[in-house]
């Protein structure tokens, strides 16, 4: 991936650079995309969160609260990038992108639990459920102030369903003022997924890998 432009934070404690390559730039600045996952060849994952929900300062403060080792590396520009953990702001300053290596993930888990970090129910559910096995897609719609989530599995998998039900219970606790309707479905015929996601807001679609 290529570095495109640089921005400096107001207090100069860290620099933020926008990041992306030709393939992803449009998606990075698309204001209608709230979350995407990309699997890089190095095994890093990119979590894309809409800036209106995530304050970069809040994210850093939340990480600092847990006194991570090599604290200065999180705040210094060059070593920050070299630590494989980056917080990036899109060129239009509306989106923040966090790239995390596996060793950083424990801190991000703390951040997720931080009351200072505001994440939408849609992002919370998608972030948690998309990591399970056999998840083909997650679709969403909202009707009469009820947020409706449907997780679509590749097969009837009771173990994964139990894990999804755990997340559903978390949602009721994390966002107690919100009303939900949760469904877990599974595919029984080929091409059924197309009809299940058609005309729905797709929060997650399992990426396909094409051999070259």
């Amino acid at each position: 991936m290529q570095m495109l432009t640089s921005h400096s934070s107001s207090d100069n404690s860290y620099k933020i650079r926008s990041f992306g390559n030709k393939d992803y730039t449009d998606q990075l600045i698309d204001p209608f995309i709230e979350m995407m996952w990309f699997q890089y060849s190095l095994g890093n994952q990119m979590l894309y969160i809409n800036r209106s929900e995530l304050s970069v300062d809040t994210l850093l403060a939340s990480i600092m609260k847990y006194d991570p080792p090599n604290k200065s590396q999180w705040l210094e520009t060059n070593s920050f990038w070299e630590s494989e953990s980056m917080i990036l702001v899109g060129s239009d300053l509306t989106q923040a992108v966090v790239i995390s290596a596996p060793r950083v993930v424990p801190y991000l888990r703390y951040v997720e639990g931080s009351k200072n970090l505001s994440v939408s129910p849609e992002n919370y559910y998608t972030y948690k459920v998309s990591k399970f096995n056999n998840i083909e897609a997650i679709v969403f719609n909202e009707l009469d102030n009820v947020k409706c989530f449907k997780a679509i599995l590749s097969k009837r998998d009771l173990e994964v369903r139990d894990k999804i039900y755990d997340i559903e219970l978390e949602m009721f606790e994390q966002y107690p003022d919100q009303k939900y309707y949760f469904i877990v479905d599974y595919i029984t015929k080929s091409n059924e997924l197309d009809s299940l996601v058609k005309n729905k807001k797709v929060l997650y679609l399992k990426p396909s890998i094409h051999a070259i």
Partner: protein, 137 residues
């Protein structure tokens, strides 16, 4: 609005339908059997809520009540399994095997029934034994 007793009458009626559907072969209509068992479980939960004059009017309403009621929250997973399989059966006609029903749906239903009977303090601890309706043969 239906009383606790009304809900128990509905459960009895649903049980009669289930007995009818499982004869002579219990595997012919497992899609509808799963649905009936789900609704029997649902009415048990409604019976518990009715004692406090709480009458959820939709599946979404009930789904939001169960996690927030300390007495019902332990039933959430079992209720959701029945709800999701019933929905799949109703909309897609998905059939399940008798083995799956015995090891999963009848077990979930039994636990919900036993738990609700404890809450509403009736004398029958396991009034509906559904296993004889689904013999392995």
């Amino acid at each position: 609005m239906p009383s606790k007793e009304d809900h128990f009458s509905i459960i009895e009626h649903n049980h009669d339908v289930l007995k009818h559907l499982t004869q002579p072969v219990c595997s012919n209509y497992t899609d509808w059997c799963v649905t009936i068992i789900f609704y029997m479980a649902l009415h048990f939960i409604h019976a518990y809520l009715a004692k406090d004059d709480n009458h959820p009017s939709s599946h979404a309403d009930l789904q939001n009540i169960i996690p927030k009621d300390l007495n019902l929250k332990p039933l959430y997973h079992k209720y959701k399994h029945l709800a999701d399989d019933s929905r799949k059966a109703r909309y897609d006609g998905t059939m399940l095997t008798v083995y799956e029903m015995r090891s999963q749906h009848l077990s979930w239903f039994k636990d919900i029934q036993t738990h609700v009977h404890t809450l509403v303090r009736t004398d029958s601890s396991n009034k509906y034994d559904l296993y004889p309706l689904f013999p392995l043969s």
